[in-house]
């Protein structure tokens, strides 16, 4: 079992013929993802890496059963592409692209809510159900099957922590990047609920960072969870008022501080580690 995507997920790649789209399509295929079609307006009829390319998502859906779409399209055109996938009835849409205007993000998320679909991202590394399906950009070799669920805001920090887990032989059910922007489709709570219900997931790693309130909101749900949660929050040493790369990673008006998040998570029963490389040890200790 895994959450959201697995070995039976038929994947569409929007923007398959672009530089990033093509490179990551090859990588995703190498990981074993079942990519059944791609889109690229004006290039319908082409076949790339053995994958048929269509002019529109509707055209792809007329010829294939598609469960999920991953978008590799420049920021200015993502709103159109995401709405296109959602309107065609695709229920899981992964938006890797960063630097998308926040008003576009609100429009995408609002429409997804209306059609009861899941948007992962924007500004995410994507999602990996280890050993089954990868949608997004993480390096393949660090994701091995196992029983730990991972949910994160940040990409390379996730590779760091999942890389450490894998090096210690600790595999993952699913690794989900919710995205680094202020408005994203999935919250920590949404993903924690899925892991709580997934019989194969035995423990959950939450990788958060300063800024916003999502770790505090997650704490309210962690209180009710039966599975152990290990959390790392990046940005302990970040000064207030300085934006640390991600749109959300900024301490403003005393909100979103490291201390506040650690307190909320600890009180909810999560185990908070101080440094990224402490995660595997704590998992071994808890799951012994």
């Amino acid at each position: 079992m895994a959450i959201l995507i697995d070995e039976n997920t038929n994947v569409l790649v929007q923007g398959l013929t672009g530089k990033q789209g093509l490179f990551h399509t090859q990588q995703m295929l190498a990981y074993g993802s079942k990519i059944v079609a791609g889109t690229s307006p004006g290039k319908g009829g082409a076949v790339v890496e053995g994958i048929p390319v269509y002019d529109s998502v509707r055209a792809a859906c007329e010829n294939h059963q598609i469960h999920a779409s991953v978008i590799f399209i420049p920021a200015a055109f993502v709103k159109d592409a995401a709405l296109e996938a959602l309107e065609a009835g695709i229920k899981v849409v992964v938006v890797v692209t960063e630097h998308i205007p926040v008003h576009d993000e609100m429009a995408i998320v609002a429409y997804a809510r209306r059609v009861n679909a899941t948007v992962i991202g924007p500004n995410t590394f994507g999602i990996v159900s280890s050993g089954k399906c990868k949608m997004g950009i993480p390096p393949n070799q660090f994701f091995i099957p196992g029983s730990v669920g991972v949910v994160a805001r940040s990409g390379t920090l996730t590779y760091e922590i999942v890389g450490n887990l894998t090096a210690q032989g600790i595999g993952q059910t699913t690794v989900v990047g919710i995205g680094g922007d202020r408005v994203v489709g999935l919250s920590f709570v949404d993903v924690l609920k899925m892991f709580e219900q997934d019989p194969e997931t035995k423990a959950v790693v939450l990788i958060g960072e300063i800024g916003g309130k999502s770790e505090e909101e997650a704490s309210l749900y962690i209180k009710e969870m039966t599975k152990p949660v290990i959390a790392y929050i990046a940005g302990k040493s970040a000064p207030p008022g300085k934006r640390m790369g991600h749109a959300g990673a900024i301490i403003e008006r005393g909100m979103g501080t490291y201390e506040g998040k650690v307190k909320a998570l600890t009180e909810a029963g999560a185990r908070v580690v101080e440094l990224p490389f402490e995660v595997p040890e704590v998992i071994k200790e808890i799951c012994r």
Binding site: A75, H99, I100, P101, V102, H103, D104, E105, M106, A107, V109, A110, Y111, R114, F125, I137, P138, P139, A152, R153, S154, G155, T156, L157, T158, Y159, E160, G163, G180, R182, V183, V184, S187, I207, E209, I210, G212, K213, S214, E217, Y232, A234, G235, K236, S237, A238, P239, K242, R243, M244, G245, H246, A247, G248, A249, R253, E274, L275, P276, F277
Partner: protein, 371 residues
């Protein structure tokens, strides 16, 4: 992008939202001239991108033009929270019957715009008791409508059958129009002043979404970053100056923060945050190192976990920069991920040993900085 008050008011005026009579000035003679044109008591306001400017003495009043000139001269010599006062806004002084608060911003939790209003404006909104604050999330698919604005005004406790109540409904609708059409991140009016029958925006705090600036071509540009921070941004690097002595370069916002935290854990003090992002070639790496060196660090840590970034590219770029420009301080490199073997081989040839783990590399960088 934060806008100066006078710029925000120019946007308001274009959309028909009432603002006081006035203009921005760059010297005290202009202040005299505008005060003369207004022909009554004026207020002279420092234009800096910082709150609390009233408490810092950045706002002055004048009853006649000569007084306005003197006040302007005083303000131009000031700095407010480290920011020099280069521009002033000279405006008519409003008769104030009541101060209101009105803002629209983005609520990450609900993923919707949220309108916040209060009949108790003028002070820090966080100090106003909850029962006097109206919050209304706006469904972006539904949009703003008369009934929503009317209900907000009712909940503020302002009678809808008064000229002020009717005016306020109009202002709320206009503000939402500005919010959506200008890709606004935050628009805040505090205070929004009731002056007789009129309702006037006495202040304007407007922040535009940086990611949408490309399509807001008619808005003026304001540069808040330092020169180095801007140079980094133009190269796709995210750079923030800090006040320690260890230079930091990593790829990805999260891992860069993680690197800072690990350095701090071992007693080190980072000199900067530098997220080199996905693919940084030779030019980017050279620029990144140049920026780091501008902070005069005692040691440097490069922490790369290659996903999109390829380790051999980073190694090649680093070796070339070291050879061509020289790096006068010790550098610790941690290099894992895509093409790591090739990357390490390149470094080894140049006599540099790469680290496997972030913690060992961080420990070493701290040690070198403390020598």
């Amino acid at each position: 992008m934060k806008m100066f008050e006078y710029m925000g008011k120019e946007v308001f005026a274009k959309f028909g939202l009432p603002v006081p009579k006035g203009r921005m000035v760059a010297n005290s003679d202009e202040a005299f001239q505008i005060a003369t044109e207004i022909g009554g008591p004026v207020v002279i306001k420092s234009q800096v991108l910082s709150g609390k400017r009233g408490k810092a003495g950045g706002i002055k009043f004048a009853d006649h033009p000569e007084e306005a000139r003197v006040a302007a001269q005083e303000l131009f010599g000031m700095t407010i929270q480290g920011l020099a006062v280069d521009i002033l806004l000279v405006e008519e002084k409003l008769h104030i019957d009541q101060e209101l608060y009105l803002s629209i911003t983005i609520d990450s939790a609900s993923k919707m715009p949220v309108l916040i209003a209060s009949a108790h404006g003028g002070m820090d909104i966080e100090e106003v008791a909850d029962e006097y604050i109206v919050k209304k999330q706006i469904d972006v698919e539904l949009g703003m409508h008369g009934f929503i604005a009317c209900d907000v005004v009712r909940r503020m406790g302002i009678p809808l059958n008064t000229p002020q109540g009717k005016e306020l409904v109009k202002i709320i609708k206009t503000l939402y129009k500005i919010f959506t059409q200008k890709d606004v991140d935050l628009v805040e009016i505090n205070p929004l002043v009731i002056s007789g029958d009129k309702v006037i925006a006495a202040d304007a705090k407007v922040t535009i979404d940086d990611e949408a600036l490309y399509r807001q071509v008619d808005l003026p540009r304001v540069e808040e970053r330092t020169a180095s921070e801007k140079a980094a941004h133009d190269l796709g690097l995210s750079f923030v100056e800090l006040d320690g002595d260890i230079g930091v370069m990593a790829n990805g916002a999260g891992i860069t923060m993680g690197t800072l935290d690990t350095l701090a854990y071992y007693g080190g003090k980072p000199a900067n945050f530098l997220d080199a992002g996905g693919g940084t070639g030779e030019e980017g790496t050279a620029k990144a190192l140049e920026l780091i060196l501008s902070r005069n660090p005692k040691s440097i840590i490069i922490n790369i976990f290659g996903g999109i970034t390829r380790c051999d590219d980073v190694a090649r770029a680093f070796v070339s920069v070291k050879k061509n420009k020289g790096i006068p301080v010790p550098v610790v490199i941690r290099l894992v991920g895509t093409n790591q073997e090739a990357g390490r081989a390149i470094l080894k040839e140049a006599g540099i040993e790469a680290y496997d783990g972030m913690q060992d590399a961080a420990k070493k960088a701290v040690e070198l900085a403390q020598k």
